[in-house]
Structures are given as structure tokens and as C-alpha cells.
Symmetry: C2
Subunit: 414 residues, 2 copies
């Protein structure tokens, strides 16, 4: 059987050419109409979702996956609200990033433009269909979406609602193309649509990320793991440190900006850890020998893997180090380059930590949980990049654009 | 046999940690000492080069490759001058790209930082060893370099000179690590040094680029082909158009920003092409039927491939189109996204061309040859990106950096 994917990709590419030059008002109008339509056609979406849920039940799908798959009227309303919010954000397209005149009179401007076709491969959650499509359209891109087989009926319903609304606003329906074929072969083919997909953003777990690294020939951005540390310095405000660790670990343990590992300066370990343990009631602590000694054994022993593990659960590894150098070395060895925090009142420590720790975000005297597009004020987020090219840290609308140079002359040659 | 590559990579990574926080003065001093040393030790470099040339002669290496391989005292002096120039450029590291305060009092700054380890795979020219290492050090990175087997003795000599100079300036020698193993297996292994190479920049022909796309698991930037067009509009200044096409095609035909294809509005084809043909004496013109008709046959017939070919030679394809839409469509079909120029006096045409043509650079009333780091005023260039992520167009020092977010609070939690 011939794959439909190249044809779908070409449709998205054609739409991208149109969307790239639409005025912001048309893109915003499409998003607002789409939000309206999600409200009006909510039952249709829920019916489609019910069919996915039935299939999931027959397949004995684990409860956590079913929960991610399940839509409710509230969840559909949240998708609509998301589109409305995105419509209200500032347009990233057309910004002159910088511009200058050369001695020969050439005017050079670097202008922000859409990427073109943004490909997204994602897992269970059907709301990603709406969220990702909205961010792509707002930033002047076409979205080529490939969700999971479990959510295909829901995704088709949501995509249908959005595409209808787009057309009413004069935006090509193919600004959102959903790939129906959810086979494994199609995923690999998707990652190799050179010349069609301008950037691939995988949204999913480690096995999806590994498959992208191994197979993709199109450019991609990795939304990676967060093995986030808090380093409590000798000069820390210890009450502040307790609050920051408790918030980082317990406010939402399943997300990538949760605190996974605590590093404590030896000089205050004996005071700080006994303060922390009762505040982390319900959290399993796994410490090295010195951490355990500081709390008289109220901690299990960390094994070799603990310090490199992103638990995504109510578990925290704890290491005691001799000084800032050892803390930075520990983080360099075990960190994933997502978010690393320090709690200190010592300016020199704050400066060295922020300069020497290599991560998308370094946080001084605040929770690791702030690494997030909303918390940064981006209004929306397509993911958090842990790679260094193109985008690093929370990715908003700006990160869904590229630039082009516009060079204006009066007949110059060289 | 165990590969030495992971160990070499780890050495570069360790050096990158140190280089990233060195003051600019130390990096500049190392570059200036390296330039001095290239002058002083020129004979050593030329002796090493002579051994490569001997091997090349024994292997019946083509003359063009031997020419790229050959060093002279002038070429070594040019490498030294390049390092001196780079030392004098502004430091890209430490720039606060943007910064703001959130309602909760968090201060967020996006700060420019080095990438870390820049991996470069390159072909014949030994001067790349010095040029690339210099740009990497200036931008606070370590360079992990893998040249070709033909140039290995020259590359080792140059790397040795630079590494000695680095140490005298207090910069780790391993800020330049040259890979000795130039086997094909080692190239593939190089492209898969995850966790060690932060960005891979291949410098070479199509087969190298294809190998990177197919094998690389580390992030990379493609320095791609340039099938650059000039579109001569109905409202063009035809004398200016002749000058721009002649310059674009003939000033240096072998480079990626050379003009490869001419697109002419039908309304002026009969006037313009007869003006152009004598000015392009010595250039083979391959035209479509209307182009040939306009010059009474002083042009060979373009076949199906001509419009997609980057000749890198004194050959130019010529198409006549009905209007701007057709010109934009032609360029979208055949262009490589490098540089596309328009010659026009019509503001609306200039605006539509620059908005609708999807390329790293669009040029209005000037030669395509201006897409170049030096011509843009970057002072130096590591390549020209034809991809859309991270860097698009000429890449200078700034494009060899990434950013990190530094978030400063007073105990905030969420």
C-alpha cells in the first residue's frame, strides 16, 4: 500500500505558504472561531472520545493512560479557553530582530518569520491536537500532527472542528493536517519527511525521544527529561530552602520541572536535613552516607542509579557535598540540563552557580517549578527544550519561528 | 580495537567547562599567541603539509583536491591573520538577550552562553583547523575537529601550534582536540557522540551532508547548497539587472552564493535578455523556450534538471515567467532556500517577493553574492545555514552560542 503521508505533508506545506503571509487578524479570527466551535460541538468531540475509551477498555489499557485519554466537558472547555488565550497573545511574526546598514549602503534586516510546517508526534492526550494546532497557527505555521492510535477518533473529531473553523476565517483547512495512520512505520516515515517538515517536536516519553534521535532526518527539538537539583548552600536561608525543596518536590511530582535531587553543603547538613525531613512527610528520601548520618537514619540508602533518576514521584535523592565546587561537579555529572536551583545568600555563590552550571535554566532562591512558559510570561508553551540549538528552556510562540535576512540595495555588486 | 573517540570527546567536554567561564581577555590572548606561533612555526606547518602532498601525489589525487590541500607561507599567514581578526571581534558571551520581571517578583534574564563542544567534520582544506578552532574559542567553546585523512599531518601540525599557544595563555590545550582517526567508521561514531558534542557542523559536499542526516544523533547545523535565483521584474532597472546577474554569476562561480538561475518577467524578456547575453560572454546559458526565443537561439535548451542544478560553474539557467506569482512559484519549486534576489523598482513587488519567498536571505536590488558573514559585518563566518532552526543564513560568533535563563528570586514557590 502506498503511504498517504507524503501527500498529507505536501498539503500542509502548501497551506504553510498561505498561512505565512496571512495577517495576524485572520489567524486570530480562526482561533476564536475554533474556540467557539469546540464549545458548540463539544458533544461530538465527547462522543468520539467515548469510542476511544471503549476501545481502550476492551484492550485493558492501564488506568493512567485512560485518564490521559478521557475528555470531559470541562477538558474540552479548557481546550477552547487555550485557543482564546493564544489568539490574544502578541504576534511573533514580522518582528525586526535587528537591522543595520553596511558601509556599502546595503540595509540588512533580520526579520522573524514562521518556520513553515511544524510536525508534532504525541502520545495519549487528545487536547494536544487543539493546543499544538493553535500555537502553530498563531505563529504562522501549518501543523502536521500525528497522535497515538488510542486517541485517533478523538483527535479526528477535534481536528475536524478546528479545520471547519479555520475555513470560515479564510485560513486553509490544511493549516491543520492530522495523520490518520498511527502505525509504527508511519511514525518513522513521519520523522523522515525531508523537505516537508521544517521542525519536528516530539511530545512523549523516553522511547519516543530515542526513536526520534535514531530515525529522524528532519530537524527536531527535544523536550527532554528534567533531573532537577536544588543545592542548599552553607550560606542559605534554611527556612527558605525548606519551602523551595518542599514546593519543588511535592507541588506536582509528575512534571519535568519537579525537584528530583537535593544537594546540601556539609556545613549545614546537620541543621538543615533535620528541619527538612518532617516538612517532606510522605516523600521517600534516598540519601548518601552523610545525608543519612545527618538525620540518624530517617532515610533509605541511595544506590548508584538514584542520583541520575528522574523519579516523577514522591521520591527525592539527597547528597551532601563539601563545597560549591563539589555541588557543581555533582550537578554536571547527574543533571539533565533542565533546571538547577541554588539557595544562598552569598552573592559570589549565586554568581558562580549561575555561570558554571550548564542548564536551560538556573534558579537562584526560587523553586525549580518556575521553568514553564506560563510562569515565564510567554502565555503558552509548546514544550521545554533541554537541547541547546534554536530553543533552550520553555518554548513559546517565538520559538516556533525562524528568521530571514532581508537585504535591500540600490544595485550593489561585489 | 577500542575507539579513542569517547576519550577525546570527554577531554573536549572537560575543556569546554573551563573555557566557558574564562574571561574574554584570556581567550583573545590565546588567539593572538596562536597567530604569532603560526608565523614563527610556519616552516613546521609547511613541512607537515609537504608530507601530506607527497602522499597525495603517490595516490594520484586530483589536482583540485591537491590545490585545496596545499599550504604556502601566504596561506599560513592568512590563517594567522584570521585568528588576529577574530580576537578583535566583540565577545558574544554574556550578552543579556532580554530580561524582565514577573508579577511575583522573579527576575528572568536570558543570557548568551557558549554551546560547549562544537564538533566539526571537514574535508581537504587544512586552514579550517585554524579558522574553526579560532571561532570556537572566541565564542567560549571547545572545538572537536575531524578533518580528512589527506590533510591529517598538516592538521596535526596546525593543531599542535594552536594548542601550545593556548596553554601559554592559560587556556586548556583541549579547547582544540583533533581526532587522529580519519576512518569512515570514526566519522559515523563522531556523529553519534551524544552527551559530548553540543552541535555538529559538517563542512563539505553533498555526500557528507547526507551522511550526517542519515547517521547523526547529535544536534547539527547544515551548511547547504545554494541554488540562488535572480528574478528580473517587469519594473526592473535593466542596466542594474545586467550588473547584478553578471556579478552574481561570474565574480566567483564556485561558491554557494553565486547566482545559478535567472527568472525574467515576460514583459521585458525581449529587451533584457539581448542586453544580458553579450555581458555574460563566456557563460553557458541554458534557457526555456521563451528565453531562447528572446535571443534568437543564443542559448542552449534547458532540460528538466537544469533549474534544480547548482552548477558552481560558468553556467546559468534562464526561465521566462508571466508574472510575480509565477516567479515566486518557480523559486519555491527549484530554490534551495539559500539566497533569492529580485531586481525591481516596484515597491509592491519588492514587498511581496521578500515576504513570500522562503529563503535564508532575500535580496532586493543587489547581488546574491552578499550572503556572507564578512559582507553582513559579522567579521567572520563558520558557514551559511540553509536550515531554519537555530541559525539561518551566515553564521558568525553569535550563532556559535546558545542562551540560558537565569531566574533570580527571593524564595518564591508556586
Amino acid at each position: 500500500m502506498t503511504s498517504a503521508l507524503p501527500t498529507l505533508g505536501e498539503r500542509a506545506r502548501e497551506a504553510a505558504r498561505v498561512v505565512a503571509t496571512l495577517p495576524a487578524a485572520a489567524r486570530d479570527e480562526a482561533l476564536l472561531l475554533a474556540a467557539d466551535a469546540l464549545h458548540r460541538r463539544c458533544d461530538e468531540v465527547l462522543d468520539a472520545n467515548a469510542r476511544d475509551l471503549e476501545r481502550a477498555a476492551l484492550a485493558d489499557t492501564p488506568a493512567a493512560i485512560v485518564d490521559r485519554l478521557r475528555l470531559t466537558a470541562d477538558r474540552v472547555a479548557a481546550m477552547a479557553a487555550g485557543l482564546t488565550t493564544v489568539a490574544g497573545l502578541a504576534d511573533p511574526v514580522g518582528e525586526v530582530v535587528r537591522g543595520w546598514r553596511r558601509p556599502n549602503g546595503l540595509d540588512i534586516r533580520q526579520v522573524r518569520v514562521p518556520l513553515g510546517v511544524v510536525g508534532i508526534i504525541y502520545e495519549g492526550r487528545p487536547n494536544v491536537t487543539s493546543d499544538a494546532a493553535g500555537l502553530c497557527l498563531k505563529s504562522g505555521n501549518a501543523a502536521l500532527l500525528r497522535g497515538s492510535s488510542t486517541a485517533i477518533t478523538s483527535n479526528q473529531a477535534i481536528a475536524g472542528v478546528l479545520r471547519d473553523a479555520y475555513v470560515k476565517a479564510g485560513v486553509p483547512a490544511d493549516a491543520l493536517v492530522l495523520v490518520d495512520d498511527t502505525s509504527r512505520e508511519s511514525a518513522v516515515e513521519f520523522m523522515r519527511l525531508d523537505g516537508c517538515i521544517d521542525v519536528l517536536i516530539p511530545r512523549g516519553g523516553r522511547s519516543l525521544i530515542d526513536a526520534v534521535r535514531e530515525n529522524a532526518t528532519v530537524p527536531y527539538i527535544i523536550d527532554g527529561d528534567g533531573n532537577c537539583h536544588v543545592y542548599v548552600d552553607a550560606a542559605a536561608d534554611l527556612d527558605m530552602a525548606v519551602a523551595i525543596v518542599v514546593n519543588g518536590k511535592t507541588s506536582r511530582p509528575s512534571v519535568c520541572n519537579a525537584t528530583e535531587s537535593l544537594v546540601v553543603h556539609a556545613a549545614i547538613a546537620d541543621r538543615f536535613l533535620p528541619m527538612l525531613v518532617p516538612a517532606l512527610d510522605g516523600v521517600e528520601l534516598r540519601g548518601d552516607a552523610r545525608a543519612r548520618a545527618a538525620v540518624g537514619g530517617a532515610m533509605t540508602a541511595a544506590d548508584a542509579d538514584d542520583f541520575s533518576t528522574e523519579y516523577l514521584d514522591l521520591v527525592l535523592s539527597v547528597a551532601v557535598v563539601d563545597d560549591l565546587d563539589a555541588a557543581i561537579a555533582h550537578i554536571a555529572r547527574h543533571g539533565s540540563g533542565h533546571t538547577e536551583a541554588v539557595v544562598t545568600t552569598d552573592l559570589r555563590v549565586a554568581e558562580r552557580f549561575s555561570a558554571e552550571v550548564d542548564a536551560a535554566a538556573v534558579v537562584i532562591n526560587a523553586s525549580t517549578r518556575f521553568t514553564d512558559g506560563e510562569e515565564y510570561g510567554f502565555g503558552a508553551e509548546i514544550g521545554i527544550s533541554t537541547q541547546k540549538l534554536h530553543a533552550r528552556g520553555p518554548m513559546g510562540l517565538r520559538e516556533l519561528t525562524t528568521t530571514k535576512y532581508v537585504v535591500t540595495g540600490t544595485g550593489q555588486v561585489r
